[in-house]
């Protein structure tokens, strides 16, 4: 417990001081990007890790939020109203998304969500009168909460960090709540949960809505970060990215998606400056993770460290019996 607390403290302090120790504005922006994608990945993880539902269409929901904000701002609406419109539209979209896709689970769910994601991409790409097609929509300015302009990378970073911290906290509360516990129940034993009197569909629907909320938040952060949105944000690759982040980091953990987001964004933004074939590197990393740590980086590393610690502790006092069945992390 204390180790977790120390780790949390170190993480919090290093996140709070990013603009001080990170070399240059560019890298501060990369950190903002990592946090935005971490929120997105957390939203996807609520479904994958706790609900057992792999969605390949979340970029569509992300895109609804981004496009709604960009379109409202272009139409001359204020920032607060635009953000609210984005949230509401994305949540309405999520409700429809959930109602359609929750008819099935497993691979069927992957397929339906992928179809909805592609449909939304198709709309963004071709519905030129609203989305401006491939040219996308630009956003002229970032909001200035409490009179602080967010144009400087470090200012924007702190705003993102604040939203990120809130999102992580909300996810933590959600997962720990009775609803979160019953969601895990529907993942492991849907029929038994049904027999126990739980409304499996409704629990999954609530999880979808929460996931959609986090995704919409990430989408709104994203539109203010890049100040530009195009159909590229809604492609299948864009939907696959958070799923890859979650699974590579470790689904069903809070830390996993964050680590996964950091991994993917660092390879994309920083390693790509040194290695021309960074896509291949990313693919190779995913394949290696599946081979060596199929449960993901965070649970895999935890297991490894625990085993090493145990071996290290046990070495001097060989008399101690190995305790069978250590509790899973």
């Amino acid at each position: 417990m204390t180790a977790t607390r120390i780790g949390f403290l170190i993480a919090a302090v290093s996140l709070l001081t990013v603009p001080l120790w990170v070399p240059g504005d560019y890298y501060v922006s990369v950190c903002s990007q990592i946090l935005i994608y971490a929120v997105f990945a957390l939203g996807v993880d609520v479904l994958i890790g706790y609900g057992g539902l792999v969605s390949l269409g979340h970029a569509g929901l992300f895109g609804i939020a981004s496009y709604a904000v960009a379109y409202s701002l272009a139409a001359g609406v204020g920032h607060i109203a635009a953000i609210l419109i984005g949230l509401v539209l994305a949540l309405v979209g999520t409700a429809i998304f959930a109602a359609l896709s929750l008819r099935v689970t497993g691979i069927g769910f992957i397929m339906i969500t992928l179809a909805i994601g592609e449909l939304l991409w198709g709309l963004a790409y071709r519905w030129i009168s609203v989305t401006n097609g491939d040219n996308g929509i630009s956003v002229a300015s970032r909001p200035a909460p409490f009179g602080i302009a967010l144009d400087a990378p470090s200012h924007f970073y702190y705003a993102t960090l604040f939203v990120f911290a809130l999102s992580v906290f909300a996810t933590w509360v959600f997962i720990g709540s009775p609803l979160g516990a019953s969601l895990k129940g529907t993942r492991d034993q849907p029929r038994r949960m049904n027999a126990l009197g739980y409304h499996v569909w409704l629990i999954r629907f609530c999880a979808c809505m929460f996931s959609g909320l986090l995704t919409a938040i990430a989408g709104i952060l994203f539109i203010y970060y890049t100040q530009f949105i195009s159909p590229q944000t809604l492609t299948l690759t864009a939907s696959a990215e958070p799923v890859l982040m979650v699974i590579s980091g470790g689904s069903g953990t809070l830390l996993g998606p964050i680590v996964g987001a950091a991994l993917v964004e660092i390879v994309k933004n920083i390693a790509s400056a040194y290695i021309e074939r960074w896509n291949m590197l990313l693919g190779a990393i995913f394949v290696a993770i599946v081979i060596f740590m199929p449960e993901g980086l965070v649970p895999g590393t935890t297991r490894l460290v625990r085993r090493l610690l145990k071996a290290w502790v046990k070495a001097p006092t060989a008399a101690v019996e190995p305790t069978p069945g250590e509790p899973a992390p």
């Binding site: 994958i48 792999v54 390949l56 359609l100 008819r103 099935v104 497993g106 691979i107 069927g108 992957i110 397929m111 339906i112 992928l114 179809a115 909805i116 592609e118 449909l119 991409w121 198709g122 709309l123 790409y125 071709r126 519905w127 030129i128 009168s129 492609t235 299948l236 690759t237 696959a240 799923v243 890859l244 699974i247 590579s248 689904s251 074939r277 896509n279 291949m280 990313l282 693919g283 190779a284 990393i285 995913f286 394949v287 993770i289 599946v290 081979i291 199929p294």
Partner: protein
Amino acid sequence: MNLWLLLAINSITFGGLLFLLSAGFSLIFGLMRIPNLTHGSMFMLGAYVGASVVGTFHLPFWIGALVAAAAVAIFGGVVERFLLRRLAGAEQAQVLVTLGISLIVADFCLMVWTGDPISVATPLGLVGGVHVVGLFFPTYRIAIILIACVIGALLWALLDCTRLGAMIRAGVDDPQMARVVGIRVSRLFTIVFCLGAAIAGFGGIMGAPILSVYPGLDNDMLPLALVVVILGGTGSLLGSLVGSFVIGFIYNYGQALFPELAYFVLFLPMLVVLVLRPQGLFGKQTP
């Protein structure tokens, strides 16, 4: 009037290509329950390998097509034998590894064949067209339709009339019982995966003279394969045949009639089918 006919021919041709792409996808999905997200990459890889054989080594088109099919089959076999086999039932790991491989393949193709689109010449003997009752039909497109039909018939014969086919059908219906009666389902997996990969690679080079070969071809084709398979039902050959032609028509007519909503029109029927009949038009109800 002539425009409609041309659109119809293009639709059927595209449907034939889609069938080559999705037949293997459907078999792999039906038998192994693996969402093979590398299938688009296999199509693209086949197209690139074939284009190289034809363009660089100046060999006849059909040799290029065979080499492409063989190369992609080997690639598929390696992926199945060394990666996917360890991941039976682990859906998340399968998604991760197939997407990872498709990233690698896409980047590998970009490295070897650069980003410029490669056009492949129509094979000699199939250039030009034929005139039937005053209408012009491009020969190559008709050849694609015929080849797709022949491959469909061969696959049907393989599945319905041979011992191997019976074993595959048993594996699709109930893998555990198939194992119990002494069928080596794991070997069937490799065979089906190689076969599906080979047809996809072959489809890639067959489509090359029409679609040309370019980076991003994989991401263009994969969603179409998914649409076809979802529409037709997984594991059903007839389903992917019907689905391919339906999507071929919707794709071509949609592009022509509703350019603004082309993709919406393309994915909408799939959504409707999924909602009303989640197992697809010709799929069996999964227990």
